[in-house]
């Protein structure tokens, strides 16, 4: 059984279609990356899958339950972690976990055991009696994750779980997510961080309310739209990347050029010699450029696909 099966899932608000006929399956035990620019309909889709919103058309099954007919069964079988910290700030860590455990029907001994398990998992032992509003961003997200896991859901929705926390806390949270996936849980994650997207088993990319592509990171990089036959990608590094980008974009051989982490990722016909590039740069006064061939990154994938679509 798949964790999630969407079939033509659609949500309209008046004239605006927020989610347009989305069909997607998420297998169990995977970290599934749900990506797309802001406003592309990711959160609306998650809200439908969690039973918060009724779809306008289409159906979906979450853990085998129909999201409209069995919304309550869906709610019991999922965990949900929001991008904004949405636990009670005036309650302590322990009180928050007791509350959310209780809401899912956990009582007494069982609740206590579950609390101990999730606390150990996220490492909150030392903060049990601290008010959650006083925790730092990273610890807040750990607590939110613990609360989302308290009732042992098989599937957890994480809507930008790492937005606004520091890189170290981000890395640590992802380590936790890998541990969870290792125990067989399905994680449905939205993020804007490409390094996080790279870590997902599978990725769906949503653009303008529609599913654009779906696949493993490697499958996406090999897409013909991203790496057309007869082209190759190189990374150009120099001490003045912005100037080089402007120069390269003007060249006839530049099919696409983007700045990625202080390098220029350049898509060009396979036959283009590296000397041609260096010469073009030198003409513009940039003499220190070095060139190496690269595979497209996920960022290249999404930028290329998005540009293609917005040109259409």
């Amino acid at each position: 059984m798949n964790a999630i099966e969407m079939d033509g899932l659609t949500k309209r608000f008046g004239n605006f279609t927020a989610v347009d006929a989305l069909s997607l399956t998420v297998p169990r035990g995977t970290i599934f990356g749900f990506l797309g620019p802001n406003g592309s309909g990711k959160t609306t889709c998650i809200r439908m899958l969690c039973g918060l919103l009724q779809p306008t058309a289409g159906t979906a099954r979450v853990n085998g339950h129909d999201i409209v007919r069995d919304a309550e069964a869906v709610k019991r079988s999922i965990g949900y972690m929001n991008q904004a910290f949405s636990l009670y700030r005036d309650l302590t860590v322990d009180e928050n976990l007791s509350f959310f455990g209780g809401v899912y029907g956990l009582r007494g001994e069982h609740l206590q055991r579950r609390k101990e398990t999730v606390i150990a998992l996220v490492g909150l032992q030392d903060y049990l009696h601290r008010r959650s509003g006083l925790l730092s961003g990273g610890w807040k997200q750990r607590l939110a994750l613990a609360a989302a896991l308290i009732h042992e859901p098989d599937l957890v929705f994480l809507d930008e779980p790492t937005a606004g926390i520091d890189p170290v806390a981000r890395r640590e949270l992802w380590d936790l997510l890998f541990d969870l996936a290792g125990t067989g849980k399905t994680l449905f994650v939205t993020t804007h961080y490409m390094d996080e997207a790279e870590r997902c088993n599978e990725i769906a990319y949503i653009y303008l309310s529609r599913l654009m592509v779906k696949g493993t990171p490697n499958e996406l990089k090999a897409l013909p739209e991203v790496s057309p036959v007869g082209t190759r990608r190189v990374a150009v590094s120099t001490t003045s990347p912005p100037g080089a980008l402007v120069l390269l974009k003007r060249q006839p051989f530049a099919l696409d050029a983007t700045l990625v982490e202080a390098e220029i990722h350049l898509l060009m016909p396979e036959a283009t010699e590296e000397d041609v590039i260096l010469a073009a740069l030198k003409q513009g006064g940039i003499t220190d450029a070095t060139i190496r061939p690269i595979e497209p990154s996920l960022e290249d994938v999404f930028v290329t696909l998005t540009r293609r679509l917005s040109r259409q």
Partner: protein, 362 residues
């Protein structure tokens, strides 16, 4: 000076943009004074007319009927019922069916205009001091003006014999204050959770909507009940306003009132988009609580639509109960209609809040 004023124009135009972007707040802010004008204008009418009156006519002659007609002509008194005995008339006052009872003796016609004029007993409900004053005016200014001594009117003020204002105001004030505090207790609760995002976390859990609503109401109702006891106690301590009837009964009957008021707050909480709006809406309920509830002037003076509107506010009904039990010593049966109204209000408001809440999530 230039430096101190730097940015003035930019701030000014930005503020205008803020105001225009949030039309709800603007509409409320501008609407409130207009509503206040209408409410204050209509509701505060100290010239109380058409006081509900029952008549016990033991004479049933042309003279007695003329006398009653004369009383009606003053416009101060409205005869709402004819009753066979003085006991029943007193009951009617206790139940607040009437404020005044005019009892005409069997020898009215025979003694009318004689040197030993007939004695008309008038029972006045002293629990409403304005009404009592008005009725007194009407009765002591003889209707036909012919012979001032044609009738000997004996006024008998029931329930608040000294017509002390505080005996009238305190049991009402308690109700008004209690509605203000209870409505505001819950009106913020859901909005706050919505703003903090915790509401969404709750809604993905199996928590039921009714469970959420009732779970929010019960703790506050306990607080409100404690507050109610404290306020009545203070009223007695400071203003010497005794509770004539059963205090226990009053507390029991306060439960549906508190629940209705808290439900009203909860309903506001489902309508308001943010805490500022919740506050405005709460304020909007305070004016009717004071002006329309019968706390200041009797509801009878209200024009029809406002009278109907006043029924929506829990305080209107609880003031009836409070004055009945605290001042007139009424029992449960006497205030049954008000209790029924409060229970109905509670059910309707919780239903409305629960239904609205479903639509407003997400």
């Amino acid at each position: 000076m230039r430096e101190a004023l730097y940015g003035f124009r930019n701030i000014l135009s930005k503020e205008f943009l803020h105001i225009l972007r949030d039309p709800t707040t603007l509409v409320f802010a501008l609407l409130i004074p207009m509503l206040q004008l209408i409410l204050f204008g209509y509701a505060i009418d100290f010239d109380v007319r058409h006081v509900r009156t029952v008549v016990v006519d033991m004479d049933k002659t042309r003279e007695s009927r003329d006398y009653i007609a004369g009383l009606k002509n003053t416009q101060y008194l409205d005869v709402v019922d004819y009753l066979p005995s003085a006991d029943l008339a007193e009951q009617a006052l206790k139940r607040n069916d009437a404020y005044v009872a005019v009892i005409i003796p069997p020898d009215f016609a025979r003694r009318y205009g004689t040197p030993r004029p007939p004695t008309v007993h008038v029972l006045l409900d002293g629990s409403n001091s304005q009404v009592a004053d008005s009725a007194r005016n009407a009765l002591q200014r003889p209707p036909d003006l012919s012979t001032p001594s044609a009738v000997d009117v004996r006024l008998n003020v029931l329930f608040n014999p000294e017509i002390r204002t505080q005996v009238f105001t305190i049991p009402g004030l308690v109700c008004v204050l209690m509605q203000l505090v209870t409505v505001s207790l819950t009106s913020f609760s859901l909005v706050r959770e919505r703003e903090l995002g915790t509401l969404e976390q709750l809604m993905v859990s199996p928590v039921g909507r009714l469970g959420l609503m009732l779970g929010k109401i019960v703790p506050y109702s306990l607080l409100a009940m404690l507050e109610l006891v404290a306020v009545f106690f203070l009223g007695r301590l400071i203003f010497d306003v005794q509770i004539v009837g059963s205090f226990l009964l009053l507390l029991v009957l306060a439960v549906p009132f508190v629940l209705a008021a808290l439900s009203m707050g909860l309903f506001i909480s489902t309508v308001a988009q943010n805490q500022a709006q919740a506050m405005q809406m709460t304020m909007l309920t305070t004016m009717p609580a004071i002006l329309l509830s019968g706390y200041i002037a009797p509801r009878e003076t209200l024009p029809g639509p406002l009278y109907l509107l006043s029924d929506v506010f829990p305080v209107t009904h609880f003031i009836q109960i409070s004055r009945a039990v605290a001042v007139r010593g009424a029992g449960f049966i006497d205030v049954l209609p008000s209790v029924g109204a409060l229970i109905l209000l509670t059910v309707v408001l919780i239903w409305a809040a629960t239904t609205r809440f479903q639509k407003s999530v997400g």
